[in-house]
Symmetry: C2
Amino acid sequence: MKIVITVVIILILACSATGQTSQASAKSEKTLTANEAIEQIKAHVGVPWQEPTVDTFKAGDPQTRVKGIAVTMMATLDVLQRAAANGQNLIITHEPTFYDHLDNPAQLPQGEDDAVLKQKREFIAEHHLVIWRFHDYWHRRKPDGIEEGNVHALGWEKYQDPANQYLFTIPESTVAKLAEELRAKLHAAVPRIAGDREMKVTRVAFSPGSAGFRRETGALEMPDVQVLIAGETHEWETVEYVTDAHTEGRAKALILLGHIGSEQAGMEECARWLRAFVTNVPIEFVPTADMWAPPANSKPAR
Amino acid sequence: MKIVITVVIILILACSATGQTSQASAKSEKTLTANEAIEQIKAHVGVPWQEPTVDTFKAGDPQTRVKGIAVTMMATLDVLQRAAANGQNLIITHEPTFYDHLDNPAQLPQGEDDAVLKQKREFIAEHHLVIWRFHDYWHRRKPDGIEEGNVHALGWEKYQDPANQYLFTIPESTVAKLAEELRAKLHAAVPRIAGDREMKVTRVAFSPGSAGFRRETGALEMPDVQVLIAGETHEWETVEYVTDAHTEGRAKALILLGHIGSEQAGMEECARWLRAFVTNVPIEFVPTADMWAPPANSKPAR
């Protein structure tokens, strides 16, 4: 119900921002190119599009006709193989394809001659895949699409702070029990805990992905926040900080889910969101295997 | 035996570089200040000292008389408390004290008003501790002091490549068995594996800490390297790369030990190295608790 209302609000915002009508939008979907699909996303996201952003095409020809859309957390080769086998040729990925935030693998010592990179590029070319990243604006959307997906997957709508979507007051639990709930509901293969796992918690901050030291410690500095949930972060920064807070006797703990576990549900949310306005192309959420899960168990769609 | 020879070589190098004699060095130890102790390190490390480096004093008065030296991986408050209780007032730490590579906690939203930081600074002041970081030059030393400690702890001297200290040819194992050996010998609480854990391995690259994408993929690009061991690294960079390499059918895997597990033995090595030329002050290795270990188990010295 909340999602439907949100989509309606965003449609109104998008229309007012771009002057498009929903009929014009529906017309363009009939012969949809990858570029047209992405233009629809830009029109519906409800936040004015500005450069610079990493939300750009990463591979393939944007004029390609879309047969199917695969929405994923990270465009690993494994994801691309499954998408291609499903007949999907537009891949919308939250995280990089080419091992770099700007998808510029120049940091690879062998650059474009790197064998792993070459084989991935060849697979993309052979299957005429088009890859577009949806990172900055899926976070900037109101609400943050990634956080909305996490909330949905956890069933935490009723616990969310109305003034700050990243804060929650949950029924009393312990850090260890909370980590177990997150592991099970978000399919995080190897959650890690810093601090006292038997500590009782009700006030939680959930910062998905890798938001960095400033945002993470900003949450931990809030007097009532007892535990921070995040994806990945540096041990010599946020992890040392929370470890010291624990040593000082403060009620602070950290649960790291891994990057994929902390954001994957947000791209499942993205697939649901897309289906509301891209109606004449099949759209599927293709989960990225958690990199820390045994490959034999992580291959099947979860 | 190898260590003794190495120390002798370094002493010769250091003397030729600085013109100091070992008698002059012994004389200054009698009334050692923190600054004098660090000058001895600079003279013995065998690599000309150049700025900029993070190997600087981070807290306390360098003119403080040294009662005891604590050598550690990361100067967490827990480490500082144990060192102070042992009567050690000079702390030599490989990693930051104040949650930042440059030990400038300006990234904390509350800066110097941050409660966790303030309490740590107060503890340091009350106990008249002096903290100095030994990072860049302990790695730059030949051999890399961190890697030497890892090799010592693993008993891998005979497997080390004479041409590249970070490469090893070990008796045939599997990725999973190797991870278990590393967990046990390096006290890594939560090692994580990407790739095929049943893959047979003999050729190993061990890149301690967080060396970054370029160095890590440089190791993985070597055709014979089957598994990279590291501390921590970004999932959207090296981890995605090794996951793709695995999907392509290449014999590549990654074991992440956590930052502390991957470098701690290198600071135990540093304590041994220091004892060879700082002879009139007690020197102790104070292990940093692995941040992912349950605190109850990690408090006692390991």
